[in-house]
């Protein structure tokens, strides 16, 4: 049985992030894509072009919702209005599962529009777990949290990021959207071994995997999503697939976006690792 209870036992294969520069191409050429990931907040509108585009995509493709605004790590709790808007969109798109980031981004009603890192403390675990339980209680589909990339570590942290992510997912009983590029970016910024991270995460909770490119500067790495996936990230991906098995995978390309075919071809490279895993499994068997 492919998949697990956090991704509705789906075998969706390789998907792409739906980006506005590609929409005309997609609607005209109807490329053969298994599924598109949409940013939920971009479609929390009452009408107009965003809604019409979404409906036309929904006529032809499976869509999975990925959010950037729930902020389940917020010390002040999740915004109920936001949750209501999310719920309405979930009913409309029939997304098989919903994801958002394990981070915070607003305080006292003011928004950063960023995915800010959390201190890895028991208090932050408790807060995130409480928030995720509220989200799970409202949504009719499974919910997963994604690991964010980060450029800072807190003095307060008493555990590693992988311990924190696992603790939250297990206590809240939710899935994990494992972003292997984010792991790689954070590993370079903070000086840990990314394989330790991938090897620690409970495979039975991994709903989906994100792959992406990034920008490396002299003294730090920024998660820019504006390049092809580099080899070390593919290696992490291969390791994740080896542990988790074939898992719905999505390529994120958000800036300096090349033509659709180029992005699609980059995403499809992921299949190599699936076949490779299957090959190994069958040899082993």
């Amino acid at each position: 049985m492919p998949g697990n209870r956090f991704n509705a036992f789906s075998d969706l294969g390789i998907g792409l992030g739906l980006r506005s520069v590609h929409i005309d191409h997609i609607l005209e050429r109807k490329p053969d894509v298994n599924w598109f990931e949409i940013i939920s907040e971009n479609y929390m509108v009452d009408g107009g072009r965003p809604q019409v585009v979404l409906d036309r995509i929904l006529e032809q493709y499976r869509v999975v919702q990925h959010g950037v605004g729930l902020y389940v790590g917020s010390a002040q709790g999740v915004d109920r209005d936001h949750l209501r808007r999310l719920k309405r969109l979930v009913a409309h798109t029939r997304t098989p599962w919903v994801t958002d980031h394990l981070c915070w981004g607003s305080v006292d009603g003011t928004f950063s529009h960023d995915l800010l890192p959390l201190p890895y403390t028991p208090e932050a675990v408790a807060r995130a777990v409480e928030n995720i339980r509220i989200v799970k209680g409202e949504l009719a589909v499974p919910f997963s949290v994604e690991n964010v990339s980060s450029y800072a570590e807190y003095r307060d942290s008493t555990m590693t990021e992988w311990e924190f992510l696992t603790e939250v997912a297990e206590q809240a009983d939710c899935g994990i959207l494992l972003d292997v590029n984010n792991i790689y970016v954070s590993a370079l910024n903070h000086g840990f071994d990314p394989l330790t991270y991938v090897d620690y995460v409970p495979p039975e909770r991994v709903t989906q995997i994100h792959i992406a490119g990034h920008s490396r500067y002299r003294r730090f790495v920024i998660d820019t999503h504006d390049h092809p996936v580099i080899d070390p990230v593919w290696k992490l991906y291969a390791r994740a697939i080896e542990r988790v098995g074939p898992t719905p995978t999505l390529l994120e390309w958000d800036a300096r976006i090349p033509p659709f075919e180029e992005v699609h071809a980059e995403a499809l490279k992921a299949v190599r690792y699936w076949d490779h895993t299957r090959g190994r499994l069958s040899h082993a068997g």
């Binding site: 929390m44 305080v107 928004f111 960023d114 208090e123």
Partner: protein, 293 residues
């Protein structure tokens, strides 16, 4: 400090640091004009108390990565939503104005699409920021109305037979603006890629009334006769044709305009364009998304 309050304190301190103005090197490769200065002592204290150094970066440098990202993201979003205002003000003044705006009016919505909501009011309250403050404030309101119209709902047009006696409302994507300056023409020229002359000082008496709306998915800006604008505004306020017409008829300043006008032809036109709709059963549903967040 009790353990359960620590996360909130951390998030508040981190966020206050992000909201500080950016100076010097942080403006680096961005388009922002130079601004001398440095982060505050409080910023440095926050960084040192909250964040660990890495092998290559000091805590302050790590916090500055988020600080820059915060500013660039918000300012870029405004630059995307207000292209004509940018042309009117020129790059340097434009960045100064929106930077000052974000400093005073941070985002209060889950989406950046609402960030420019108060830009027109802000420019009116800070006229010294822009060389043509009336034009700039008008243009900010016009471009924000376009952003709103872009993603507002479209309700079915009111059947003509229901015009009288039903609670009516304006089409959600229709926005009415009373401008003090001819910025609709200015924006039109910018959009058409034509040359734009520097604006002339505005005469306060010459108001222009415009409707911003969608036709299908296309945005449109049309001038309205003053009396037409007043009738539509009264419908928006009262939700009833009778009350709106009574209200307008009582205004002595409009009487002459109304006598000369072909009001019934206007209504036929508005019904044809779908500008009038049935009022939603729940009046709160008319409150626009985002205004409550």
């Amino acid at each position: 400090m009790p353990a359960e309050a620590r996360l909130l304190t951390t998030q508040r301190r981190f966020f206050s640091a992000l909201r500080e103005p950016i100076f010097g090197d942080s403006r680096g490769r961005s388009e922002l004009p130079d601004r001398e200065g440095d982060v505050s002592r409080e910023f440095v204290r926050t960084a040192n108390e909250l964040i660990l150094p890495s092998a290559l970066l000091e805590p302050v440098e790590r916090l500055e990565l988020y600080h820059r990202q915060y500013w660039y993201r918000l300012l870029d979003s405004l630059a995307e939503d207000f292209p004509a205002l940018r042309r009117l003000l020129g790059d340097k003044t434009f960045w100064d104005v929106i930077e000052s705006y974000v400093e005073h009016v941070p985002s209060r919505s889950f989406t950046l699409r609402h960030l420019g909501r108060y830009l027109g009011d802000f420019v009116d309250e800070h006229p010294a920021l822009a060389p043509h403050p009336l034009h700039a404030a008008d243009l900010a309101r016009l471009e924000y109305a376009l952003c709103e119209a872009f993603e507002a709902a479209e309700h079915p047009a009111l059947p003509p037979a229901e015009l009288a006696g039903t609670r009516i409302a304006l089409q959600p994507h229709l926005r009415l603006l009373a401008l003090r300056t001819p910025v609709d023409t200015f924006r039109h020229r910018v959009q058409a890629g034509r040359k734009t002359a520097a604006p002339r000082p505005a005469a306060q008496t010459a108001r222009r009334f415009v409707a911003v709306f969608r036709r299908g998915l296309r945005l449109q800006v049309d001038r309205l006769p003053r009396a037409a604008f007043e009738i539509l505004s009264a419908i928006e306020r009262t939700g009833s044709l009778d009350q709106a017409m009574d209200e307008v008829a009582r205004r002595t300043d409009l009487r002459r305009l109304l006598e000369a006008a072909r009001v019934s032809a206007w209504f036929a036109d508005w019904l044809g364009r779908g500008w009038l709709v049935r009022a939603p059963a729940n009046p709160l549903a008319l409150v626009k998304e985002g205004s409550t967040t």
